[in-house]
Structures are given as structure tokens and as C-alpha cells.
Amino acid sequence: MTRWTLSLLQPLTHDVDASPISLESFATRSVADIERVQLTGMGPTVRIGDLFRVGRHSTSNDSIDCIEINGDVERFHHLGARHGGGRFAIDGSAGNWVGLGMRDGELIVTGNVGDGAGAMMRGGRIRIDANARNGVGGPCSSSHTGMSGGLITVGGNVGDYASHRMRRGAVVINGNAGVALASQMIAGTVCVSGTFLAQAAYAMRRGTLVLQTHVDFCPLRFSRPSVLESPMVALLRAHLTPEITGLRAACRLLERVASGGLKSRRGDFSVGGQGEILAICPDSN
């Protein structure tokens, strides 16, 4: 299979749309053609060859095609957008809208990412080893729904509006979350092993939010916590194993949740929601 390597030669001083960097567009091109591909944005148009040393390697070791970007590319947005298969790896930090509308395959970022990571994602898996800013797994511009499939794992913290309007799939966050976590969530699963700020699960309709502890949700919007014994929790844990997520803290949380002492809240009743917040209650340990 083919492995493309893009090693950053110099940092960019303005933002560009990096969506032309994709396995699909590279598949039919030579290295010279790729070096001539132009990236447009908030400054002068630049060519890939001006910014990266491009390499193409045919290898029998890999079973899938892959793109590897080496260097911090925070000014490059839409990396991995609509990625439809294979592996897209960024060794460093990336800009906004990483994995926007991703359909399949794997996207890995070893550093931080900007806003909108995995927005409107439909399938595949995004692994962010450090932090993600606002709108992880959320919608894009005027869209009504956020991600509708796939798995996003974040090794660090996330900003505000994570999983906003999420419709399907799973988001697992090893660290903390900002405000409006899982707000207006339509379905899917969100697991946060750290803390979170105000307005969590606001206007949640369906779906599952797994938290360390129950906080004081408005009683008009969410039910009181009640004991839940269900094989569903084991299914959830089996779906998000350490081998799948690679996140120890989040998996420990799921392990604790599955081992009992779990309480569940339903809501948000203000929108007729039947969402579910699962957490371990201190009095049930």
C-alpha cells in the first residue's frame, strides 16, 4: 500500500484550508503533482511543496493507505475532512475542523486540535492524544445535527459544546469538559472521566452521558437519580474497551459504572427528552 509523508519545512503565518490534503486526492497524483497543489486561505495562496517535503513510499507492511504529517500544523484547517478510509496521522498539533464529516478510517493527532474536531463525522475513528477546543463532535455552521457515527477519543480536555447536537456514535474524553457538554444531544454516547462546567446535557433529547458523579441537575429538567441494573452498561463497556479507546481514565470510569452502584437520571424534560445520565453516586459505593 502507499504511505504519503508530509514533513513541515516551515511554520505557516496565516490560516489555510488544508482539505486538499487527502488520500482520495493523492491517490491518482505523483509527488510532483502533489507539490503543486495549492492551499488557499486567509493570506497568500501557497503550494504544498513550499511548505512540506513530500514523500511517497510503497510498502507491503501496511495493509491500508496512509498520510503522515510531521510537524505542528495548527494553521492548517479541515485536515482529514471527509476522510473516507485508511489512516491519516498528524504527529503534532492541528487546526480547526479536523476530521470534519469524516466517513471511515482512522485519524490520529498526537498534539492538540482546534475547534470542531470530528464535527458532523459519520464513521471511522478520531484519536486526539492531547486537548481539543470547542465543538468536538458537534454540528457545522447551520447544521441541525452533530456527529452521526464513529468514535472520537480525546486524551486530554475538551472545550465548550462537546457533542452538541450529537446524533450517533461515541465521544470518550479522558479529561475535563467545558460548558454545555452534550447539550441538545439527540442520541449517542458521551463519556467524560473528568469534570465539566455548566449546562451539561441542556436540552438533551436522547443518548447516554456517562459521568464520574451526579451533580445537581435542575429537578424540573432531570429526574432524581435512581438505581439502574442493566446489561446495557456491560454492552457499553464492551463497546468502549481500553483496547478500543486507549484511554485509561475513561475506561476505569466505565469499569466502575459497570461494576455496580450506578444511578441514572432521565431528561431533559423541558424538551420532552429521554436522555440518560449515568454516574456513580457517592452513597452507593
Binding site: 454516547t189 446489561p231 446495557m232 429521554q274
Partner: protein
């Protein structure tokens, strides 16, 4: 007679078992403990011996340990066979609703892996049972599998949305001919015990065997199956018989399987076990039931399956 196949001194007749295409599915029942799982499986598989009057042929395939089930609890795999897809689609939700949904702590999953792209024919499970939740049911989709969570009095009943329906084979069989009921019982029980660990097959009759082997048709117009007088010892000298004078009892082991290989293997294992136990103890022969090869397209020749 000298070139007749024998196992442990038991003659094997040069004939074949005639089997039919059926529609099949596999279900997994889990529960907090194996006792509840068995109770649910017992209820679900009750009155499921023959498609002649039960709608389907259904039985426990195998008990599953915790690591083998979707939710890590003790479980039981069930195989069900029907003559048509529509009959299977009618029977399974009914039985699931009355026998598994009702049984404490149980959950019900598809036992055949594969989404619609792989198995486009589906049988509703939670898809229809969810309405019992009266609006409080919740759907959960993990990977490509969709589950329904229906609130019940011991918590919630978790049930997969649907289960694939696949092609199966029904009516693999062998008949044990003995000098007495005790002799064929001994051989039959040995055969069934040997079949129990085999995957992909069931023996739906009570204890795995039937004494009422049937032929197609009857002198009575309302019946499309009736006793197979050729194997009834009491009719040896009354009607055309296929029994030797010293044969006084016959039991038939009927095998439904997910494919021909499963049935072949089961017939071989079962016949060998029966002969080991029955040879010298009154088992006088092994044969198989067929209709002259005119009805079913799957022919399992004893000489071939035992090769």
C-alpha cells in the same frame, strides 16, 4: 452382506437421510445467572419439536460461558428453523415476547453476526417488542448493532433490534434399530450426549429423539403426515415393512443444522456414539429416513458421512 458397513458390529444400511431447505436463525439469551437463562430458554423452546404443528423447530444449541456472550453474563444459544421466512418472522417475536421478555433478568441478542448489508433478511426482536415500553423504551446503537431497552419491573429488558434470518437445513436423521426399547434408548442417549457439544445443530424432539417417525401423506385427507408403518415393529407382518424379524423397537434422531457440513458431522458423531454404546447391547442396525429422494434436495448418504 459381507461388504456391509459395520461399526462395532452394528450394520449400517446403504441408504440416505433426506433433508430439506429451511429458514434458520440463532438467538442468544443471557441472564444474571445460568438458572434464569435456562428457564427462559426452556420456555422459548417449548412446543418446538416439529414444523408439522409447532410452527418451527427450536432447541438449545449450546450453553455459553460469560466471555462468550455480548453482555458478559451466562447465556444460552438457541437455534430455530421454519419452513418459510414469514413463519419464522411470525414465531420468533411471539416466543421472545412471551418467554424471554417475561423471564427475570434476561436479555436477548442476535446470535448471527452481520448487519443488513451481510444479511438483508431480518427477524424483528426489539423492533416489535419495544412497544411494550409504552413510550419509555430507549434505543441504543453501538457499532452497527441497535438495542432496545424496555423498562420492566426488575430493571430493564435489553433486546437487540433484529436478528438475521439465514438458510438452514432441516430433517437430517438416522434411525436406530434395536431388539428392545431399552436397547435403542441406550444407543439413542449415547448419540444425543455426543451431539450436545456440536455447534450449528439441534435435535428438536424430546430428549433428542422421536418414536413417531412419519411418512408423507395419510389415508385421511386432513393429514399431510402419518405414521411410518414400514418402521413400526407391531406392523411387521401387517403392512410392508423395512424391519428384520429381530427388530422390536426403532428411535429416530432428527437433526436440523445451519448447513450440510454441520448435519454430516452430527450424523457421523451420533451414529458412531450410538454404535459404541449399542453394539453388543441390542442395537441391531442403523438406517436413515428418506422419501425416495423426491422431496428434499439434501441427501446425506450414511456411507459418505461415516467415511
Amino acid at each position: 452382506m459381507s461388504d456391509e458397513m459395520q461399526i462395532n458390529g452394528v450394520p449400517i444400511e446403504a441408504t440416505f437421510a433426506e433433508a430439506f431447505d429451511m429458514k434458520a436463525t440463532r438467538l442468544i439469551i443471557t441472564a444474571d445467572d445460568s438458572q434464569w437463562a435456562r428457564e427462559a430458554a426452556k420456555a422459548m423452546t417449548g412446543f418446538g419439536t416439529s414444523v408439522i404443528a409447532c410452527g418451527l423447530e427450536i432447541a438449545v444449541e449450546v450453553e455459553l460461558s460469560e466471555p462468550e456472550t455480548p453482555d458478559g453474563r451466562p447465556g444460552i444459544a438457541i437455534l430455530a428453523f421454519a419452513v418459510s421466512g414469514s413463519e419464522l418472522e411470525k414465531q420468533i417475536p411471539r416466543r421472545a415476547g412471551q418467554c424471554v421478555l417475561t423471564c427475570p433478568t434476561t436479555a436477548l441478542y442476535a446470535g448471527i453476526v452481520g448487519d443488513k448489508s451481510m444479511h438483508p433478511k431480518r427477524i424483528a426482536l426489539g423492533k416489535s417488542l419495544r412497544y411494550f415500553g409504552d413510550g419509555h423504551q430507549i434505543s441504543k446503537r453501538l457499532d452497527k448493532r441497535r438495542y432496545w431497552r424496555i423498562p420492566v419491573m426488575d430493571g430493564e429488558f435489553v433486546c437487540e433490534h433484529d436478528v438475521p434470518r439465514v438458510d438452514g437445513i432441516g430433517g437430517g436423521n438416522f434411525l436406530l434399530l434395536g431388539s428392545s426399547i431399552a436397547a435403542v434408548t441406550l444407543a439413542c442417549r449415547a448419540a444425543i450426549q455426543a451431539l450436545q457439544p456440536l455447534p450449528g445443530i439441534i435435535t428438536p424432539f424430546p430428549g433428542g429423539a422421536t418414536r413417531s417417525g412419519s411418512k408423507v401423506g395419510s389415508k385421511y385427507k386432513a393429514l399431510f403426515a402419518s405414521t411410518n408403518e414400514a418402521f413400526c415393529p407391531s406392523l411387521k407382518h401387517v403392512a410392508p415393512s423395512l424391519l428384520r424379524d429381530n427388530v422390536n423397537a426403532v428411535l429416530e434422531v432428527v437433526i436440523d443444522g445451519m448447513d450440510g457440513d454441520c448435519i454430516s458431522r452430527a450424523m457421523r458423531v451420533g451414529i458412531q456414539a450410538a454404535c459404541r454404546a449399542g453394539g453388543g447391547n441390542g442395537l441391531l442396525g442403523v438406517t436413515a429416513g428418506n422419501y425416495g429422494g423426491k422431496l428434499g434436495r439434501h441427501h446425506f448418504h450414511l456411507a459418505e458421512v461415516l467415511r
